[in-house]
């Protein structure tokens, strides 16, 4: 799978000079600060995974992944410096630390499948959702668009590599891999989704910024869209990796509980039900 950054903007396209208001810069600062935190966690995760890799070639490939994530950190920092907004650690959401802790727990147990599922599949799915949103044709902020498209390419490769690695492990011991998936799903996915879900509230609380009303000019950055996009990528990845549908369907169904009563309903439940009904047909066919 070498999916291209769909809708990414080629350098030849001409753009009107892009005006970035104060609110939009704050929004960018929030998104980039969190993306950078995710990349830092990825450096830690991939690096910690190296020792678990079964042969020298896959160790080298994993070191290479860690170094790509380092490159992403530098690109995001460069973007911030170029556009003139702060990388602000006070804007970083607390769930990153939980995700990292769960990864570390899996690494300590030498649970390679758990590590791969958390980093290569779950975290990369979120990263892909984010970078796709920012590299889409509807984003008129050229600089942001270009960087996001660049990062997206690497993250898609990492996801692809992760899917292959997981499939290789499943060929050896499917039950152990599915146990790891179930464990990782219940530990990590609530954190990742809470992060995406709470992003607007977090901004409102810590930065006094309403992300719905902020003037984004011609930018179509919709954090609500990210919630659904990340979900789509995660579900898509589960099917792509060819996990057992009996297991994945339960996991997907469990995610409806993430949309707690009282919170603005984004139609997550409907979306998940659509996925499940769409997947039930190939499942019947496979049986």
């Amino acid at each position: 799978m070498q999916e291209q950054a769909s809708g990414s903007v080629s350098p030849e396209v001409r753009f009107e000079p892009f005006q970035r208001g104060e609110g939009y810069m704050k929004l960018l600062s929030f998104v980039v600060s969190n993306a950078r935190r995710g990349e830092i966690m990825a450096v830690d995760n991939y690096s910690e995974m190296v020792a678990l890799m079964p042969d020298t070639e896959s160790k080298i490939a994993t070191v290479h992944q860690a170094n790509e994530e380092c490159k992403h950190i530098l690109l995001l920092e460069k973007l911030a410096a170029h556009l003139g907004f702060e990388i602000d650690d006070s804007m970083v959401e607390p769930q990153w630390a939980n995700v990292r802790a769960h990864f570390h727990e899996a690494a300590k147990k030498k649970n390679l499948a758990g590590c791969l599922i958390i980093q290569d599949l779950m975290v990369e799915s979120l990263a892909i959702g984010l970078y796709k949103l920012f590299s889409s044709a509807s984003n008129g902020d050229f600089e942001t668009n270009r960087i996001a498209a660049n990062l997206l390419k690497d993250e898609l490769e990492h996801l692809d590599l992760g899917v292959h690695r997981i499939q290789a492990l499943m060929a050896k011991d499917s039950e152990a891999v599915h146990d790891s998936l179930t464990w990782a799903h219940h530990r990590v996915m609530p954190n990742l989704f809470e992060m995406v879900y709470e992003s607007c509230n977090f901004l409102c609380k810590t930065q006094d910024l309403d992300c719905d009303t902020v003037d984004k000019g011609s930018v179509a950055i919709d954090l609500n869209a990210l919630k659904v996009a990340s979900l789509e990528h995660y579900v898509d990845m589960l099917f792509q990796a060819k996990f057992d549908l009996d297991v994945t369907n339960q996991l997907i169904a469990s995610m409806t509980s993430y949309e707690v009563p009282g919170r603005a309903n984004l139609g997550l439940g409907d979306c998940l039900r659509d996925f499940l009904s769409a997947q039930s047909k190939p499942a019947a066919g496979n049986a």
Binding site: D44, S47, A51, D55, E57, T62, N67, C70
Partner: protein, 287 residues
């Protein structure tokens, strides 16, 4: 691809004795094992690094060690000798285990001392030896010299990092040095030898025929050089000499270390070829 890389048809090996290539096969395979350990050590250390810049620098060090593995493997292909691309000798696994213990304790100073100072010091001695074209051959010397540049840089980084930690808490760093010295240095010095546990069997090399005379060297000279390099490193860091003097004196107890190597008596005759210490050999065969 974990088998000993077999020779290719297109080789450009200079005319040297089979003993020379057997020795290179043994030394280069052991060097690759050290590089694999280094990849794991640097990668595992990333999570302990206090700043993002240091995480990136450490991930980059791991990447450089990956490059060394590829360079050494390529050398084997070019010169038509077999190399083993996995850790065979148990000393590497022992050092790796001690390193992991230090990571588990969050002991960054011990990690830096083991990898950046102790292991790199031995690597520098090794690549300096192989880098002397007059004793080896032009391709081996070129490869070794290229790797040596990186290892010297890593040592420099390590010294700077340890000096920073010393400024903060000298007692803690000296405790880490004492612990690491007693755990790791016996393992490293035991590898300055042409005897082995399993490596020669893996390489199909007659262990008893290996002699450093093929590179115009001998075991005792190498041990002296390694010791001098180690002392030089300790001095450069600026450790307390009352601590380091005791540590150096303690090395007289190593089975491999003759008193004269430590300058405690006059040098004896140069070491000859040493019998292989296969699994069935007695300990006395291995000295």
């Amino acid at each position: 691809m974990e088998q000993a890389a077999q020779v290719s048809a297109e080789t450009i090996a200079p005319q040297r004795s089979q003993g020379y290539y057997n020795l290179l096969s043994y030394i280069v395979s052991n060097a690759i094992a050290g590089e694999i350990m280094a990849i794991e050590n640097y990668s595992e250390m990333v999570q302990l690094m206090p700043t993002v810049a240091e995480k990136i620098e450490t991930a980059h060090q791991a990447k450089e060690e990956c490059k060394h593995i590829l360079l050494l493997s390529k050398l084997g292909r070019k010169l038509d000798f077999a190399v083993q691309k996995r850790i065979v000798e148990p000393q590497w696994n022992n050092i790796r285990k001690h390193f992991s213990t230090a990571v588990g304790k969050g002991d960054l100073a011990a990690c830096l001392i083991i990898q950046d100072l102790m292991t790199e010091t031995m690597a520098i001695m090794l690549y300096r030896t192989l880098g002397k074209e007059v004793d080896t051959d032009s391709q081996t010397a070129t490869t070794a010299s290229s790797i040596l540049v990186d290892e010297l840089e890593h040592l420099g980084i390590g010294i700077a990092r340890i000096q920073k930690l010393l400024e903060k808490d000298a007692d803690m760093v000296h405790d880490a040095l004492v612990w690491a010295h007693h755990r790791v240095m016996p393992e490293l010095f035991s590898m300055i030898s042409t005897s082995c546990h399993f490596l020669c069997d893996e390489l199909n090399v007659d262990c008893g025929s290996l002699t450093l005379g093929d590179i115009r060297n001998d075991i005792e000279s190498l041990r002296v050089e390694a010791l001098e390099q180690y002392i030089d490193t300790l001095d450069k860091v600026g450790f307390d000499q009352t601590v380091t003097n005791a540590l150096i004196a303690s090395m007289a107890s190593y089975r491999e270390m003759d008193r004269h190597v430590l300058g405690l008596s006059r040098a004896g005759s140069p070491g000859a070829a040493v019998a292989c210490c296969g699994p069935g050999s007695s300990k006395s065969d291995c000295s």
